[in-house]
Structures are given as structure tokens and as C-alpha cells.
Amino acid sequence: MTPQAEFHQRNRDIHPPAHTPVYKTSVLRSPRIPLWSLQNSLSEVTGPIFSADELGPLDNDLVLNYAKQGEAIGEQTIVHGYVLDGNGQPVSNTLVEVWQANAGGRYRHRNDTYIAPIDPNFGGCGRMLTDERGYYFFRTIKPGAYPFRNRINSWRPAHIHFSVFGTGFVQRLITQMYFEGDPLIPHDSIIATIPDKSAADRLTARLDLNSSRPLECLAYRFDIVLRGRRQTLFENKLQGG
């Protein structure tokens, strides 16, 4: 890694703005003063590094990682893809964390009171490091849709929450992945916070039959792109004078 390689400025047009009345909770939690633009220093281009020995062998298998008396109930699903940066380079050895509702749409969380039952064998979270190609995969069950208090009758499409680090703290990203063909996608208030339709569409994972396991498990493909670094060759020449 080249020292001090700065990141491209974030293209804010592809992200949801802070204030999106369609998602009511954002109204009081959105800064109203414009963000101060800050060029990268060491504080921005560096970030935490994680190692494989911090993770357990079942951390990326949500079907088994909380199994008490049996496997989690639901449609077994593999989710996989590559974490790349804006230059198309793999982001290797980076931490990917995921969390989701169970097959009935219920979260294992003390604040979730939805009527769907808790699955005693499903925790609902997992984590993994990308390999040297930026590749990650995990096994889970397909989450159910669930209602939330936004409008009277607001439902979330099935989704998996993702948290990704990258190599610099300014690449930090939390997002959500949706499933191709879900009829709730066009009605969702959270997806609707993204103004750019094509950007929102990139959050929908595609069915990947070739990667499914016959008679066992379906697969979906979800690639993630983090911000890219500037071309360091140019930087070095400038610094070298």
C-alpha cells in the first residue's frame, strides 16, 4: 500500500441525503448545516485492520452459528460477491459484517416486538474477512419482510444489513442488500431515500443460479464498491518535485 494515498472525494449524489422526509426518523437526525469539506490527512487515510484469528470458524455461517437444538429455519441462501474500490481494485482482508431478521421477519433484539416468532436456532448476524481477491461469502436463511412504524402500513422488503471497512476510515460504509424480484422494493421508504434510481438498483442482489448448491441452497450475488484512491504515481511525481 502506498503511504498517504488519498481517496477520491465522495460522490454524494449517489447516496441518500441526510434529510429525507419520506423516512420520518431522518427529519430530526439530519444535520442542517452543510458538512465541512476536509481534505485527507493521516486521520482519514488510515483505519482499523482486522485479522482472521479474531473471527471464529462459524462466524460466516448464520445457519449454524447460533444453532442450539437444530439448524435455523428458512430458505438456505448463500450470499457472495467482491468488495472492490472505485478503481476496480479488490479490497482484500477487510471486515464485512452482516445482520438480518429471521425467516419470519423478526430480529433477535430486545427492542423488536413484531408478532413473528424468534427462531431459537438463529442469531441473525455474521462476519468475515474478504480474501486477497476481495471475495466474501456467507450462508444464511433468507430474511422475511417486516413492518415498521413510518407510515401506517410501511413494510421493509427482505434485506440484509452490511457493514464494511475498507483500508481507510473514510471508506467506512453501512448499507442494506435487497433480493431480486421482491415486490416490496418499489414501496420501500428506506430505498426511496436514495435519489438516484440506478444507484438504488445496485443494492439489489441478483439470483445466481450457477453458484447455488443443487437440492440444498440458493445463491445471490452482491458486489460492494468502496471509494477509490487517487492514482499514487501522479502524487509521487509531484512530491518528488
Binding site: P16, T25, S43, G86, E97, Y107, H161, I174, T175, I194
Partner: protein, 212 residues
Amino acid sequence: MTPPPFIPSYLPETPSQTAGPYVHIGLIPEQAGFEIFENNFSGNIAGPDVAGERIIIEGRIFDGAGHVAKDVLVETWQANAAGRYNHPADTQNKALDHGFRGWARTGTDFVTGLYTIRTIKPGSVVGRKGRKAMAPHVNFWLASRGINIGLATRMYFGDEEAANSDDPVLNIIEQPERRKTLVAPRSERDGAIIYTFDIHLQGDRETVFFDV
């Protein structure tokens, strides 16, 4: 001068989505109410072998109506006591502290709304492109229900007045009174050093957030 290599196109970044009300499941399962992983990340990052002054950073996060936000993920990233980040891009000629990653994660408490980070006070880090040193600071990143894209800010130390007044980042903030939203006062409680850093997401005392 060699021209920059030709790159036909860039891949657009994956858009952000809110972390939602149940962010704890994935990132702080203990706070969600269950145990699953053998190793858990936490807000307590100053192990016994780490050099530096032990400090506690705590505070609450307020929304635009003045309500305390009790479901916010708080992550911090900082240099070690010598002022070096544990990362290969930091090539400053300062001691690395291998037992100190420098990254903490916690959530505001469901009842009190307080977050707590137990760490060490970082040293001063060199500024952008090796220029003027930055005052000691801790980088913050917030995500939660109602926050569509993670919010970045910095905490500076109230007892570093001289360094703060010379800090190249604080000084780009045009209004001096807004710089104060980033400076945490120091106090002592039961023998512990406390820095209180309250964050205002919106309103009269809105914290300075950065587009980094």
C-alpha cells in the same frame, strides 16, 4: 512528469443505507441481548500493556428536538500515545504500539443514552502531506436509525488549548464558536479522567460534521 495512468471509468460507490434500529445485532450483539461470537469488539480498547494516559470519553447524542438518541452506533479511530496510527500508511518515525489497534465501537445506552469509550489519550499526528501537526484528536463515526449515511466528526481535548488554537482542521471552520462543538472538556470522577463529548445532530448547537 509522467502523466497519470489512463483509467477508462470508475466504479460508482455502493450507496449507503441507514443502519436501522437493530444495528446492535450485527455490530454489538451483547447490547441487542444475546451472545454469539467468541471475540467481541468493544469500546474498551486500552489493554494493560498499552502506553499512555487512561481516559474515558463519554457523552450523549441529541437530535434536533433535544431528545437523547439512545440507539446510536459510535465508532472511534485514533492514534496511539506517541501520535502514530496502527496502519501501514502511517510512516511517521514514531513508536508503534502493537497492542493498540486504536479503534473502538460502542452504542449509546438504551436507558441513559450515554456512550462510553475507555482508551488512552492520543498524541499529536502530523498534518496533511507532512505539514503542520494536528492537535491530539479522536475521529468519530456515527450510524443509526434515521442517519442515512454515517456522520464523521472529530473530538479534540479541552486541555490542549494551545495545540487546538493552532490546529489546521479546527481552523478551517469559519465560525470560532462552531469549533467549540468539537472540543471536549476534561474533568475527574472517582480518580478517572473524563472527557465529555456531547454530539448534537441538529439544532442551535449542531456539531460540526465533515465531508471527509
